[in-house]
Amino acid sequence: MATAHTTVDAAGLSWGPRALIRRLRSGDEVARLITLLFALVVVLLTVLLVDQLWINSAEARHRFGLAFFWTRQWDPVFNQFGALPFIYGTLVTSALGLLIAVPLGLGAAIFLAELAPRRLSDNLTFLIDLLAAVPSVIYGLLGIFILVPLMRTEIQPALKRTLGFTPLFQGPAYGIGLLTAGLVLAVMIVPFIISVSREVLLAVPGEQREAALALGATRWEATWKAVVPYARTGIIGSIFLALARALGETMAVTMVIGNNPRISASLFGPGYSIAAVLANEFSEATGNLYLSALIELGLVLFLLTFVINGLARLLIFLTTSRGSLVHT
C-alpha cells in the first residue's frame, strides 16, 4: 500500500512510516526505546541467572536425578552428593526463626498499628526499619561473640535441665548449632514481620474496629477479633516474606550453625544450610560434579525463595492496595 495507515493506539502513539519519522525527530520514540532497553536489561539479567543456574547444574542433575533431594550423603571423596542435610538445616533454622519471630513480631505490629499513640508508633517503626538495615555480617559478629557463649554457658544447659527429656534438647552444648542459628535468624526477620504486618493492619478499614468497639468490646478484643482476622491474609503474607528472607540468609547463619552436613535430631547439634555450604565450599569445589552439585543446591534455593516470595506477594496484594513491595 502506498499510503500509510495512521492508527492511534492506547498510549496515544501513531503508527505508519510518516508518523514514525515525525516521532523519531521529536525524540520521544528514541526515549521510549532507550528506556525500554534498560527495562529489558532487568529481564535479561534474570533470564541469564536462571539459565546459568540450570546449565551449570546439569551434570549433577543428570547423575543424581530426583534422589538428590533425599540423599543424606555429602561426600566429595566418593563423589556422592545429596541435598537432604542442607534442606533440613535450612528448613529447621528458618522454622525456628519463624517460631520465635512471628509471635514477637505480630505482637509488636499489633501494638504499633492499633494500640500505640500515633507519634510513638511512628518513631518506634522508624527504629525498627533501621533494624532491617543492619547487615547480616554484623548479626554474625554479635552471634559469634555474644550469643554463642551465652548459649553454651547459660541457655543450652538450662534448656537441657528443663526440657532435656525430649530429643530436641539433648546432646552436648556447643553453643554453635541449629538452635543458635534459628535464634539469630529470628532477630533478623522480626523487623520484616513487624513492618509489613503493621502496614497491613493499618490498611484495615476503621469501620471494623469501630463496629467491634460499638458492640462493647475492649481494645484488645476489637483488635484481636475484628481487625486481625480481617488482615489475616496479609499477615500470613508477611510471614512468607520473612521466611523467604530467612531461607536465603548466608553470613550470620554460616558463622553460628556449625557447618556440618549432619541431620541432627537435637537442636543443639551442628547443621548446615544451603546458603552456608555455598559460601564455604563454592570457591574450592574441585571436580565438575562437586561444583555442579553445589550449583544445583543454588538452584534449589532459588526455586524455594521464588515460590515463597511469590506466595507472599500474592497474599499481601490481596490485602493492601499496592501491588508488590520491594523490600530490603
Binding site: V43, L131, P135, E221
Partner: protein, 279 residues
C-alpha cells in the same frame, strides 16, 4: 467483665513489651559495637594496611577504599538501569512488557545474595579468569537494580498529573516533559531510594566472596581482587587471633555507623516530603 478487662490490660502490655524488645535489639547491637569496637576505631584503622597473619596492629585502609570503589561501581551500574527502566514503566509502558519487567524485578530482588554471587562468578569472573573489583561491583549493582527500578516507578507515578499536563499544554514533547518536569519533581524520592539501596548493598558479604575475592594490599584499577569491609569482618571474626577480633568489632562499628547514618538521614528527608516508601 473483670476477666475481659484484665485480659485487655495484659495483652496491651504484652504487645507493648514485644515492641520494646524488638526496638531494644537495635540499641543492644549499637551498644555492643560501640563497647567492643569503639576503642579500636583509631587513626591506624583508617590508614594502615593489614599486617601479616599473627602480628598485631595494622588496619583496614584498603578495605575501606575497597568498599567505596565497589559501591561506586554498583551505583554506576545499578542506578542508570533502575532509573531508566523505572521511567519506562511509569511513562511509556503498556500492559504486557511492564508486567514482565515488574515481575522479574521482584523475582531478582528476592534472590538470595549468595546466588547472585554465583551468578556474577559465572558471568563475569569465569570468562576472563580473574577476580575483580568489576565483578564485585556488578554483583552489588544487580542487587540494587530492582530497588531503584520500583522506587523510581512509584515516585514518578506520584507526581501530580497537573504538572505533566501543564508542560504538555506549553508544547513540550513527552520526553521533554519527563526530563524537565517529572523527573526533577520525583528526584528527591528517587535519590533517597538509590541511597538506601546503596546502604543495603554496602553491608553485603556473600556476593563478594567469589567476585571481589579479597586483597591484603591496595587494589589498583578495577580489574584486580579487592578487599571490602564486610568480607574483612567475616574473615577476622571467624579467625582465632584476638587482634583480628578487635579489628572486626571496629570494622563492624564503622560499617554499621555508615549504614545507619545513611538510613537515618535519608529516611528523615523522605518522610518530610513525598509519601513514605519502603525501599
Amino acid at each position: 467483665m473483670f476477666w475481659r478487662k484484665s485480659v485487655n490490660v495484659l495483652m496491651l502490655s504484652l504487645t507493648g513489651l514485644c515492641a520494646l524488645v524488638a526496638v531494644s535489639v537495635l540499641f543492644f547491637i549499637l551498644g555492643y559495637l560501640v563497647y567492643h569496637g569503639g576503642k579500636d576505631v583509631n587513626w591506624d584503622f583508617f590508614t594502615k594496611l593489614p599486617k601479616p597473619v599473627g602480628e598485631a596492629g595494622g588496619g583496614m585502609a584498603n578495605a575501606i577504599v575497597g568498599s567505596s570503589k565497589l559501591l561506586l561501581l554498583a551505583a554506576l551500574f545499578g542506578v542508570p538501569v533502575g532509573l531508566l527502566g523505572g521511567v519506562y514503566l511509569a511513562e511509556f509502558g503498556g500492559r504486557a512488557v511492564p508486567f514482565v519487567v515488574r515481575y522479574t524485578a521482584d523475582l531478582l530482588n528476592g534472590v538470595p545474595s549468595i546466588v547472585i554471587g554465583i551468578f556474577a562468578y559465572a558471568l563475569v569472573v569465569m570468562p576472563v579468569h580473574h577476580f575483580s573489583t568489576f565483578a564485585g561491583g556488578f554483583a552489588l549493582g544487580v542487587m540494587m537494580i530492582p530497588i531503584v527500578l520500583r522506587s523510581t516507578e512509584e515516585f514518578l507515578r506520584a507526581v501530580p498529573p497537573a504538572l505533566r499536563e501543564g508542560a504538555m499544554a506549553l508544547g513540550a514533547s513527552k520526553w521533554r516533559t519527563i526530563s524537565s518536569v517529572v523527573l526533577p519533581a520525583a528526584s528527591r524520592g528517587i535519590l533517597t531510594a538509590a541511597l538506601l539501596a546503596l546502604a543495603r548493598v554496602a553491608g553485603e558479604t556473600a556476593p563478594l566472596l567469589f567476585t571481589a575475592f579479597g586483597n591484603r594490599f591496595w587494589s589498583p584499577g578495577w580489574g584486580q581482587p579487592i578487599a571490602s569491609l564486610p568480607v574483612m569482618i567475616f574473615t577476622y571474626a571467624v579467625g582465632p587471633y584476638e587482634d583480628w577480633h578487635r579489628q572486626a568489632w571496629a570494622a563492624g562499628l564503622v560499617l554499621l555507623g555508615l549504614v545507619l547514618i545513611t538510613n537515618i538521614v535519608v529516611r528523615t528527608l523522605l518522610s518530610r516530603g513525598t509519601s513514605p516508601q519502603r525501599p
